[in-house]
């Protein structure tokens, strides 16, 4: 009896130490995850020339809104933002609705040809033509230097399709049967019954597709070859980052070599980084419960 009490106390002491260490570790991880954003925000509100000297970690040293003024008065940056917003809105909507439309019939076990359709899709998950053949295809289709290169090749996604199929299967058949008795055809049922009931999965896929569209720089780099006005902001930023990096390397990283051009490009870079990142930071916590469910359905497929 005595022994068991003492072992219990001993154990809870160990547990206490574990809990404290665990909490400290978690706080550290939280800090490490949030701090990069904080760092960019603080530096973006600091005078650009002053910021190049470094050493701004917690709070702006010389508070200034000049960086944001520079960004919002730069036409090419604004144009890049417009393209990003347009491609995210249009690309995401098309992807979600198109993928859902294809997923709905495939969620029906009695669909003729279902196995064949699924086989065609599954292969695409593990084997692809690669960069150059894809580029040549887009060229052949006239998608180079064309806004639709962001939308049409991204209109469908087989992995998202699997997530949706699993979700649609959970919807009770009785709902569709009663709609059928009322004379609705499958397409009407999909539009009026299935889509409204599928908001959680649509939100998940919209988040995946939306973040993909918003963060994509490669499409702009690869397929926009001679029309800079179609470049999204991430491609614009990529050029700035690559350019700053190479100029830093070239000038052997001495603070004295800072030119006016560097400070303007850094100013634009920082402010544009904040503006491109904040919308996502604001959206994802609210969609959390959806995408956790979505990831589970998608990956833990039995």
């Amino acid at each position: 009896m005595k022994r068991s009490v003492s072992s219990k106390i001993k154990r809870s002491k160990g547990t206490l130490i574990f809990d404290i260490l665990n909490t400290i570790l978690m706080l550290f991880i939280c800090f490490v995850c949030i701090y990069p954003i904080w760092y960019v925000i603080v530096n973006s509100f600091n005078d650009a020339n002053d910021a190049l000297m470094g050493g701004i970690y917690w709070w702006p040293r010389q508070f200034s809104l000049q960086n944001y003024k520079t960004v919002f008065s730069d036409n090419s940056v604004l144009q890049a933002f417009k393209i990003t917003i347009a491609k995210t809105l249009i690309g995401t909507t098309v992807n979600v609705l198109f993928t859902a439309m294809v997923a709905y019939p495939l969620s029906k076990k009695y669909l003729i040809g279902r196995k064949f359709y699924m086989a065609i899709g599954t292969i695409t998950m593990f084997f692809s033509g690669g960069l150059i053949p894809t580029f040549l295809l887009f060229k052949g289709l006239g998608l180079l230097n064309n806004f639709w290169v962001y939308v049409i090749p991204a209109a469908f996604n087989f992995f998202n399709l699997l997530i949706m199929i699993n979700f649609f299967r959970e919807i009770p058949d009785a709902l569709e049967e009663s709609a059928k008795i009322d004379g609705a055809n499958d397409f009407t049922i999909f539009r009026k019954v299935i889509l409204p009931l599928s908001k959680p999965v649509l939100a998940t896929i919209a988040l995946f597709a939306g973040v993909g569209q918003w963060n994509d720089y490669f499409g702009g780099l690869m397929y926009i070859t001679d029309n800079r006005s179609l470049e999204p902001i991430q491609t614009y930023l990529y050029r700035l980052v690559a350019q700053v990096q190479s100029s830093q390397m070239a000038s052997s990283i001495s603070a004295s070599n800072i030119s006016a051009k560097d400070s303007t490009s850094t100013a634009i870079k920082l402010a544009a980084m904040v503006i491109t990142t904040l919308p996502i930071c604001c959206v994802y916590p609210f969609l959390q419960k959806y995408f956790i469910k979505g990831m589970m359905i998608g990956a833990v497929k039995e």
């Binding site: 978690m26 991880i29 949030i34 993928t99 029906k108 033509g129 150059i132 994802y284 990831m295 833990v300």
Partner: protein, 313 residues
């Protein structure tokens, strides 16, 4: 008419009737199939240029066959061994060190008893996943230069004695790639494991507590065995992607100075294909990669099926 052909005819008409009944469903599925045929299968057919001397000014059909010339060229390329070592090295590092981290993180998060703190920690840990590599690249290039945050911190803690340019020295590249990738995806990758952990039967833990099991024992005897299926699936996916050393990340962090440790197959394909216009050669390199990746997938899937009874298909 024989009995058999009558039966067959009837079967056919039943199928036809079923097909008519589901004509709207078929109409909905077909655009998706056509999309895949165009955007997935035509490029697969385009791989043929790896075996041809293709010029952008002429069609693929007109290009003369050259057999395995471009593959041989790649194997004899002076960059070949470097590229293979980097691709495999970075990926293996991510596999051996990066793969267990989210599992450990999920186990630790699961031990937090304060639900609010637990939820906040989770939400915050997902944040870096939503930042683009371009934005992170912008941050990292500033942080990792010789006057950046990392140098200030490491020198203050006496980890390094003088300033180090982490992106300006090839020997640090693999480390930078590993740490920055783990940092970005730690929380996000843990979601799957957390979901699996939360579905473990709580009675098992209660019974173990009654038996006097310690926390560590519970983790190794209950939690890990219960989620081994999920771990296996994630491992198969990781192994099959062994040659994908995260294109976006490396594209952004590589530069002229660290290229001897940062060039991987994917970035090389982009460089020789798009910057130098060697389409056939680049396609051959990327086909070489795809074939090995496919083999890896099959091997991983087969071993998992044998050892754990779990597989992708």
């Amino acid at each position: 008419m024989t009995e058999k052909s009558v039966q067959e005819k009837r079967k056919k008409s039943v199928t036809m009737r079923r097909l008519m009944n589901q004509k709207y469903l078929q109409l909905m599925v077909i655009p998706g199939i056509i999309w895949m045929l165009i955007f997935n299968y035509i490029p697969m057919g385009g791989i043929i240029i790896a075996f041809k001397k293709f010029k952008i000014t002429k069609s693929i059909a007109e290009a003369p066959w050259v057999g395995l010339k471009y593959f041989e060229e790649f194997f004899q390329d002076s960059n070949f061994s470097n590229i293979m070592v980097n691709t495999l090295g970075i990926s293996l590092l991510k596999l051996i060190i990066g793969f267990p981290l989210p599992i450990i993180f999920a186990l630790l998060i699961n031990e937090i008893r304060n639900l609010k703190f637990k939820k906040i920690t989770q939400t915050i840990s997902y944040l870096p996943h939503f930042l683009s590599w371009v934005v992170l690249g912008g941050i990292l290039t500033t942080w990792l230069n010789s006057t950046g945050v990392i140098n200030v911190l490491f020198q203050a803690l006496h980890i390094t004695s003088g300033p180090v340019s982490y992106l300006g020295d090839p020997k640090y590249f693999w480390g930078v790639a590993l740490v920055s990738d783990s940092w970005k995806e730690l929380g996000w990758s843990a979601i799957i494991y957390l979901a699996a952990i939360s579905s473990v039967d709580q009675q098992l833990y209660e019974a173990a507590t009654v038996d006097g099991a310690t926390k560590i024992q519970k983790i190794f005897k209950i939690t890990l065995p219960s989620i081994k299926g999920t771990i296996a699936i994630m491992l198969i996916l990781q192994v099959s992607g062994l040659l994908n050393a995260n294109f976006d990340q490396i594209m952004i962090l590589k530069n002229q100075i660290n290229i001897s440790r940062s060039q991987v197959i994917d970035t090389y394909v982009y460089q020789v294909g798009m910057s130098l216009g060697k389409y056939s050669y680049a396609t051959a390199v990327s086909l070489f990669k795809s074939v090995i990746a496919l083999f890896l997938l099959l091997i991983a899937n087969f071993s998992s099926k044998r050892l754990l009874g779990r597989s992708l298909y």
